[in-house]
């Protein structure tokens, strides 16, 4: 599986309150929620994002609330992948459970610039910054987690057992 798209870059400690502010959480409709994705730190994101685009961020991406709405809106906007130096644990778990591809790679998150064209190969963990020509290798998921992803998320994997 691969994605290719342009980069939206964000800082350390992007929290779930800015990914999807709680004032909108009176619905669980993903498409309605997705209209407000990243609104409190980047009002342009929703207008500019295209299918396959990549978020690149610093440490502790997705900290704060356990709201699954956060990875869900990022995915629903068409984002193909989030690359960060590290992820907050509930966000990490939720992303896997709902099938939003995420990769931890400190060097890539440091060096890739906003607006760069990037491709990601999830099978190998290879990240290529097409704009700069640099490549990076992210840590692959443990086999247990790869199995959840292959089966299409946690609930689908449970039904398969």
């Amino acid at each position: 599986m691969n994605v290719k798209g342009k980069v939206f870059k964000y800082p350390d400690n992007v929290d779930t309150d800015v990914i999807i502010p709680a004032r909108y959480l009176n619905t669980s409709n993903a498409k309605e929620l997705a209209l407000h994705c990243m609104e409190d730190i980047d009002t342009e994101f929703v207008k500019k994002v295209s299918v396959g685009d990549v978020m690149v961020a610093g440490w502790n991406f997705g900290c704060g609330s356990s709201r699954e709405h956060a990875p869900l809106v990022i995915k629903t906007c068409g984002t193909g992948c989030v690359i960060a130096k590290s992820f907050a644990r509930i966000f990490y778990r939720n992303a896997i459970n709902i099938g939003l591809p995420i990769l931890e790679c400190e060097q890539a998150a440091e060096e890739i610039n906003a607006g760069d064209e990037v491709s990601v190969d999830f099978d190998t963990g290879l990240i290529t910054d097409i704009t700069t020509g640099k490549t990076y290798k992210a840590q692959p998921f443990p086999e247990f987690i790869q199995n959840i992803i292959r089966k299409g998320g946690l609930l689908a994997s449970l039904k398969g057992e």
Partner: protein, 419 residues
């Protein structure tokens, strides 16, 4: 090498003699929790995946607390969905308006969670119940759905940081000042994926409300869970309250910790986390004149009886400063009632504060105290992220009930006196 307290609880629930950090396990759950925001997503996933029954109706807790009494039509629809699910599956721990409270104050109070439990909740502050000597952690709605269907969850066994507490808190300090100080020391990802195990001679001096507050904010350091050992105070709290028999686990003498951090409780001072991260902490006494517009005393972090008593002791016979909105929210109906019976509510109203029935409301910018552009609030809540309580250009300062109440009287962030 021995196991930490968390590892021992996880090993027991996984049916294993031993686990090590990094190991992936499947553990049996004692309670699966959701609220009015996360449960609808879980119900949708549960239904979509084709599950038609819950694993155990007595081990699921659904608490309507974030937007109730319903703040608008959409919130009402979400509550209705939770209510219908709870009813159709005969969920025994379903808490609606009139019975509800903020989930992390309510479940310990009602004895739904107890020592030795393994608990997941679709709310990040589920880590609160570690104060009772349980393993308890926040998850998302899909994990909640899977937990409701199977009664199990997968975990990566965490490593741990040990916080060795000594001494005793000064009278103007509480558990909130302890946890804010710790988050200031280690940062908002200082315990990422790890357990925070609190231990040492100082534990016995901390009340259960202090311990619940400290574990509540473990997530604010990125932790998987926070946990306290079970002592006489824990057992006294659980006695006559726990629905199930408490199980006592303790860390092995030779348990391995990534780090040991010593905390002298005598040296803790009233602490405030400035915008926009809980790690941005400063002693209240060093903040200078920071004018505020609003005070919120409540939430799953600080809406318990001792918090109400702290606010009462400061506000009784006093007046909230002109131009300051002071909102006090007892966290459960039982606490609310006790505040009425003890005359706290009268004293709060006489002081010029408003008192709400239990809700998470303002903490997450839901309702009941939203900030306008440029406004500033001192709150006993748990997060001060950008836009957390309203406008993206508003500010939240996190503090203890004593500091927040003292600030309500002056209109500026104020170091509370030693009463």
């Amino acid at each position: 090498m021995g196991m930490t307290m968390t590892q021992k609880i996880l090993a027991f629930h996984a049916g294993l003699d031993k686990v090590v950090s990094g190991q992936l396990i499947s553990a049996k759950l004692d309670i699966v929790l959701g609220n009015d925001i996360t449960t609808p997503v879980a119900v949708n996933e549960f239904t979509k995946a084709g599950f038609d029954k819950v694993f155990d109706k007595d081990k699921i807790a659904i608490v309507l607390d974030h937007f109730v009494p319903n703040k608008d039509i959409k919130a009402a629809e979400q509550s209705k969905q939770c209510r219908e699910f709870a009813c159709s599956h005969c969920v025994s721990h379903f808490y609606d308006v009139g019975k509800m409270g903020i989930e992390h104050a309510l479940l310990p109070e009602q004895g739904v969670v107890t020592a030795g439990d393994c608990i997941i909740g679709a709310d990040s502050h589920t880590c609160t119940y570690g104060a009772l000597g349980a393993f308890s952690t926040g998850v998302g709605s899909t994990d909640m759905a899977a937990g409701m269907a199977t009664g199990t969850a997968w975990f990566k066994v965490p490593s741990a940081i040990k916080f060795n507490l000594s001494g005793k808190l000064n009278k103007n300090c509480s558990g909130k000042d302890v946890i804010l100080t710790i988050i200031g020391m280690i940062g908002v990802d200082g315990a990422l994926y790890k357990s925070m195990e609190f231990t040492g001679d100082g534990v016995s001096s901390l009340s259960m409300d202090d311990r619940l507050c400290i574990c509540n904010m473990a997530i604010e350091a990125g932790a998987k869970n926070g946990i306290f050992p079970v002592d006489e105070k824990t057992l006294e709290y659980l006695n006559g309250r726990s629905e199930r028999k408490p199980a006592i686990f303790s860390a092995d003498e030779d348990a391995e910790y990534e780090k040991v951090i010593d905390i002298d409780l005598n040296k803790i001072v009233p602490t405030v986390a400035c915008p926009h991260l809980p790690e941005n902490t400063h002693p209240a006494s060093e903040l200078g004149d920071i004018k505020i517009d609003q005070v919120v005393i409540g939430s799953c972090t600080n809406g318990r009886m001792e918090d109400m008593t702290a606010a009462y002791n400061v506000l009784k016979g006093q007046k909230v400063a002109d131009g300051i909105r002071c909102i006090i929210i007892p966290a459960t109906m039982q606490i609310y009632k006790e505040c009425v019976e003890k005359g706290y509510v009268t004293a709060f109203i006489d002081a010029g504060a408003v008192v709400s029935t239990p809700t998470c409301g303002p903490c997450l910018g839901g309702y009941m105290g939203i900030l306008a552009e440029g406004e500033r609030c001192i709150a006993t809540t748990n997060r001060n992220f950008v836009g957390r309580m309203g406008h993206v250009k508003s500010e939240v300062y996190l503090a203890s009930p004593l500091t927040a109440a003292a600030s309500a009287i002056t209109g500026y962030i104020t170091n509370p006196k030693e009463n």
